[in-house]
């Protein structure tokens, strides 16, 4: 059985050097519709995510950023529209194919969503145990280097999630998301609630992981510093669809009141100037 080209990684380096437009598309959303009761969340939403890029998703509260992510990863069944991941239509997969596809993406939820009854090491091992039958010692080795890769010390391994700080929980969640060596990483507000130093370190971590592991990163964020620091392209969600996708420089010249307010408001200016704005403490 040959895997489709989208699943291949061998020519990744060439693709990384190539211009954005030449990269293949790993996520394609076309005509997405979502409604909660009478409230329209998405109407005719189109989005394409290219391989190896970090795409930032921004938008005001309630514009359906998280719903978009949940639709792509199959936690939410859209009313209408097509979602293709690695060239496969999500709604046409059977249970087996769907499970197989899930192996190729990792998701980091807002607060890590670690299983509270398991230690960090056990949490990281869960996906491996689910998909493969490895020796316990090998599982521990894999968990060990994944935990180190996300910058957690070894002493965090045998701890329970309730004993960790928010930043450490996010890192542990990231280790679990990365354990199957996914191609796509979905991050839901990874730096929310972190202090500026931890947030900057997390940005750096994601960029490094993208560069070493060749990940495609789908990043929902409100953090202007994150957008400036690591995103290759940014998609702006408003009025139920994607208003504009482009680099931050392109978006700053885009004539829309919300986009202008977002990137040229006081915080946007501070982030553009490379000055760390004072973050609200939570």
């Amino acid at each position: 059985m040959r895997r489709p080209r989208a699943l291949e990684r061998s020519d990744r380096e060439a693709a990384q050097d190539a211009a954005h437009a030449e990269r293949e598309i790993v996520i394609k959303v076309h005509g997405l519709e979502n409604k909660f009761g009478d409230q329209i969340i998405h109407h005719d939403l189109d989005l394409e995510v290219r391989r190896g890029e970090i795409i930032g998703i921004v938008g005001g509260s309630g514009t359906g950023k998280s719903v978009l992510m949940r639709s792509i990863i199959g936690l939410q069944t859209p009313l209408a529209g097509e979602i293709e991941v690695f060239g496969k239509r999500m709604d046409q997969l059977d249970a087996e194919q769907s499970k197989d596809l899930r192996r190729h993406w990792g998701v980091l939820f807002q607060d890590g969503a670690l299983f509270g009854a398991l230690t960090v090491t056990e949490n990281v091992e869960v996906p491996l145990r689910e998909f493969f039958k490895f020796e316990p010692s090998f599982l521990a080795e894999i968990a060990g280097y994944k935990i180190a890769m996300v910058g957690l010390p070894a002493i965090a391994g045998p701890k329970y999630p309730s004993e960790l700080s928010g930043g450490m929980r996010k890192r542990a969640g990231l280790a679990r998301a990365l354990v199957l060596d996914p191609r796509i990483l979905f991050l839901d507000e990874p730096t929310a609630g972190l202090d500026p130093i931890s947030a900057a370190a997390f940005d750096e971590l994601i960029k490094n992981l993208r560069d070493t592991l060749g990940l495609t990163v789908f990043l929902i964020t409100h953090d202007l510093d994150t957008l400036h620091a690591i995103c290759d392209r940014v998609a702006v969600l408003a009025d139920g669809h994607v208003l504009k996708v482009g680099t931050i420089a392109e978006l700053m010249d885009f004539d829309h009141p919300w986009v202008q307010e977002y990137f040229r408001g006081p915080r946007g200016r501070a982030a553009t100037a490379g000055v760390t704005p004072v973050k609200e403490s939570v």
């Binding site: 061998s10 493969f132 090998f138 521990a140 180190a148 045998p158 060596d181 060749g214």
Partner: protein
């Protein structure tokens, strides 16, 4: 010796210290060959990676392990593979799966000590909580604090009115069972008519109240613990305190008052339903007409039985509500704690109700209410 995994999978061929790799060295393919690779650890001197089609961190980790343990040299690696091997090499960090516990014996001993101390703490906290509730109750009675009447009425509806169906059905059925089993035994002495004494006295004084209390403990004590517990997790209790609201006044007292009051009514209602069940059984099965049944009932039930039953009911209600609220307030950390505390609320409130009932039985008998 050649090892491979499936048709499209990873392969490695071992020829006297040189390992030639091929195929996909990714988690899905090479993972199965891990034990064979482990066996080669230390004997491999050269690794030829030119045949590798694809590699991920798990493949890189296995190669890193050969390099680390046997000092193997890598040839023919793509820049991507070198980067991955380098990256996992930097992250080589063994972790423990579980917290260190020491020897089993010491661990058991520590657990036992911990359990004893924490139980004593819980007991102390519970008494403090009960005391605080009583203080707030009396302050409210003497109008030094306001009573949340809306909240009390709402809780009365939830605790009392909504429980009518299940409490009624349960008591009714127990009444029938009591009459039927009693009749079988008493028939041996030709004393079937004493079934009325059995039903009348046992339900009004003991069973009606106790069954209702157990039912209310199962329904409402758990609900209180879960409600207050999730509010605690959500920092709503802390928010109340910062606004200047007392959680005792807002949450605990309305539940305690409502449960205490509704236990009186539900207990009485439960007893009546049990008598109704027993009466119907006597009518249908023992041919005792309802008029006879009621007349006998009036003769055998002492007024003291009735008052003892109604005296116990509100005390049970208060204990149930206080236990539920107390356990809810003890929730810390995560959702699992809510589950544990809810279970503890039900178990402890039923336990306390039965212990108190036993105490009252001895107490009132000693006082001469036989």
């Amino acid at each position: 010796m050649r090892h491979d995994c499936g048709v499209t999978g990873a392969t490695f061929t071992d020829s006297g210290g040189t390992l030639a790799l091929g195929g996909r060295w990714t988690v899905a393919h090479i993972g199965e060959l891990e034990p064979q690779l482990r066996a080669l650890n230390g004997s491999v001197k050269t690794i030829d990676m030119s045949g590798v089609e694809r590699i991920d961190t798990v493949g890189a980790w296995l190669i890193h392990r050969l390099i680390r343990d046997g000092g193997a040299k890598v040839t023919g690696a793509s820049s991507e593979a070198s980067r991955l091997i380098d990256s996992v090499g930097k992250s080589d960090q063994p972790v423990e799966r579980h917290p260190f516990r020491g020897s089993v014996f010491v661990h058991r001993l520590e657990m036992t000590g911990h359990a004893v101390v924490s139980q004593l703490h819980v007991l102390g906290n519970f008494l403090a909580f009960l005391g605080k509730t009583m203080v707030v109750l009396f302050q409210t009675i003497f109008e030094r604090r306001s009573l949340r009447l809306n909240s009390v009425v709402h809780q009365m509806d939830v605790v009392g009115v909504h429980a009518l169906g299940i409490v009624g059905l349960l008591s009714f059925l127990v009444g029938i069972v009591l009459a039927q089993q009693g009749a079988v035994q008493l028939r041996q002495f030709g004393a079937e008519v004493f079934v009325v004494n059995l039903i009348g006295r046992s339900t009004v004084r003991e069973l009606g109240i106790l069954l209702t209390a157990i039912m209310v403990a199962g329904r409402s004590s758990s609900a209180f613990a879960a409600q207050i517990g999730s509010m605690k997790l959500n920092e709503e209790i802390d928010a109340m305190h910062t606004i200047g609201l007392s959680s005792f006044e807002v949450l605990v007292l309305p539940r305690v008052i409502a449960t205490g009051l509704m236990m009186i009514l539900l207990g009485f209602y439960g007893s009546m339903m049990a008598i109704l069940g027993g009466g119907l059984f006597c009518w249908a099965s023992l041919d005792m007409p309802p008029v006879t049944f009621v007349t006998r009932l009036q003769e055998v039930i002492l007024f003291s039985d009735f008052w003892i039953g109604l005296f116990k009911a509100p005390i049970f209600g208060v204990i149930i509500a206080v236990t539920g609220c107390f356990q809810g307030m003890q929730v810390t950390g995560n959702a699992e704690s809510v589950g544990q505390r809810t279970t503890a609320a039900v178990v402890q409130s039923i336990f306390l109700v039965i212990v108190l009932d036993a105490f009252f039985a001895v107490f009132f008998t000693a006082l001469g209410f036989v």
